[in-house]
Subunit: 340 residues, 2 copies
């Protein structure tokens, strides 16, 4: 008996979560929603997902485009064991009363404020706390990337302090209505960026300050981390820890990975849509100076939260313990199979 | 008995041709070459291709990187029925004496001058002329995109004159050493761009003038075409012709295809590496003004020549006639299956 998952919002995150759910042996996608009958709606149908209209007033648009919908979002969530809300930032909070009324559990994404849910979630860091919860928020791509690495460093060596500089892709590749094509934008100008406080929603005891900039690229975010460790650790000690974690992928300049452009070129062969569910850490960037660790990592903003959504489903519906869920998610998504 | 294909140069074109050859039931990849032991070399091995060193002096580099090579490019081509030369522009011509010495047929890419080969090739336009030939050049991405459309228009309605403006992606996505991030570059400033004369290497009777510009994107080229037709044709007549040709894919703004960004977003779901082997023509851009046809098309520079290379192999080795080869190529690469 598979648990029934509804995907509310079949966009950048929703389409990836839908495909990932479909690859699990203990859950199924019972339907996805779209607001408009565009190529993504047609792709959902092509892939065999049942399509529902996210905005009842737009039903006519689908009809006149000749696209069959099964009903509206209400019809969908009433059949679901859990909803993964993948609507744009802030819309998730607007949707919450609907989930409450239907009495259905819901997962929100990192574009929502933390108080939309009972818990901000990362599978490595706090899977157990999500067990049985009704509303959980999977933290954003940058925060997920930070939390994974910081959790590993903290549990292995202890963390005194973190200073992180985020160099962010300005928009996702499909975006053609906004952007920044010739500049570097401090975002925000005044410290801290929201990422530090957001990390603390998952790892409250970590002392972290983050600064962020947007730059003209769509491919990935890059993080330059400085982590003051409590215990002395060598570069090899850190590499050992990362090599054991499937959700961290170590790459090297010697293999031709001179930029995110090359990482994505490689990923285009590995997974459809060049999805990288792993933190991509440059092995050669790992440097210990005194008691401070430096490292550079790249985060695929469209894909990295996907495994976290799958694990959140299992935790909230009490389908598996942490170790089993992560193992199943990793195996089904080929996480940990691309070490180079 | 499958014909033995060697791929000399496993880069942007080579890796795609290798995968496409592997999908045919009448040919096989007997090996690929790389100059350096980078991630692309490791990917070739991961995919099961036998790797050969393209530059004998670099054998040591592969050894010290722990990458097993089967030998050098000479060893490879001596076992081949045909070589697909996918080395960077101008290097193909340097390689030709090696192929002549080995007595092996060879296909060159559009980065070479036309006199490297006996024939400049496009499957729709002049498959028959390549039958039995020893040296054939598959024309470049932009020229392939132009030739396909012009061949169809010419055979159906007759062409008086063509005026084409090419708006070109500045570099391929993996490129991080050169580019143009903030400008529009007439390339060349003085008319014509090389594309017009290059079209005439395949369709010598077409009166065509081309102008080209580079712009800061990596995703696709876009062509704005003006074609003066001999016979009166309506917009629907043109659409009918395009709808019957699998290598032309019609898309529409109504489906959300507002830019190449959206076309690629869609393609990321369709094929690995988001390869688009088809000309992507905006249906809504097809307009007849007097006896002049206007249309806008997008050309995926990394992928569009791939089916042409497969058809060139069949023609040169006399394995199939035009219709059969194109049918097999299209079927194996899902060309013609993504009409929206």
């Amino acid at each position: 008996m598979k648990v029934k998952v509804a995907i509310n919002g079949y966009g950048t995150i929703g389409k990836r979560v839908a495909d990932a759910v479909s690859k699990q042996d203990d859950m199924e996608v019972i339907g996805v929603t779209k607001t408009k009958p565009d190529f993504e709606a047609k792709m959902a149908i092509r892939k065999g997902y049942k399509l529902y209209c996210a905005i009842p007033e737009n039903l006519e648009l689908f009809e006149s485009a000749g696209i069959r919908v099964e009903g509206t979002v209400d019809d969908l969530i009433n059949k679901a064991d859990i909803v993964v809300d993948c609507s744009p930032g802030k819309v998730g909070a607007q949707n919450k009363p609907m989930y409450e009324k239907a009495g259905v559990k819901a997962i929100f994404q990192g574009g929502e404020k933390k108080d939309v849910a009972e818990l901000s979630f990362n599978a490595l860091a706090n899977y157990e706390k999500a067990v049985g919860k009704n509303y959980v928020r999977v933290v954003s791509c940058n925060t997920t990337g930070l939390v994974r690495v910081l959790y590993l460093l903290d549990t292995n060596f202890g963390i005194e302090k973190v200073r992180a500089v985020m160099i962010r892709r300005v928009v996702d590749p499909k975006e053609d209505k906004k952007g920044l094509v010739n500049g570097i934008m401090p975002d925000p100008v005044k410290l801290p960026s929201h990422h530090g406080p957001d990390v603390q929603t998952v790892l409250p005891h970590i002392d972290i300050t983050t600064v962020a900039f947007k730059v003209p690229t769509t491919l990935m975010h890059v993080h330059s981390l400085n982590v003051q460790l409590k215990e002395k650790a060598s570069e090899d000690d850190v590499i050992d820890v990362f090599e054991k974690e499937p959700r961290i992928l170590l790459v090297s300049k010697d293999d031709g990975f001179t930029s995110t452009a090359k990482i994505i070129e490689w990923a285009r062969e590995l997974r459809i849509r060049y999805d990288l569910f792993e933190n991509v850490v440059w092995r050669d960037s790992i440097a210990v100076v005194g008691n401070e660790l430096y490292l550079t990592q790249a985060i695929h903003q469209e894909a990295i939260v996907v495994p976290e959504n799958i694990d959140a489903i299992r935790a909230m519906l009490e389908m598996a313990d942490k170790e089993e869920s992560i193992r199943k998610t990793n195996e089904s998504l080929d996480i940990g199979k691309f070490q180079i």
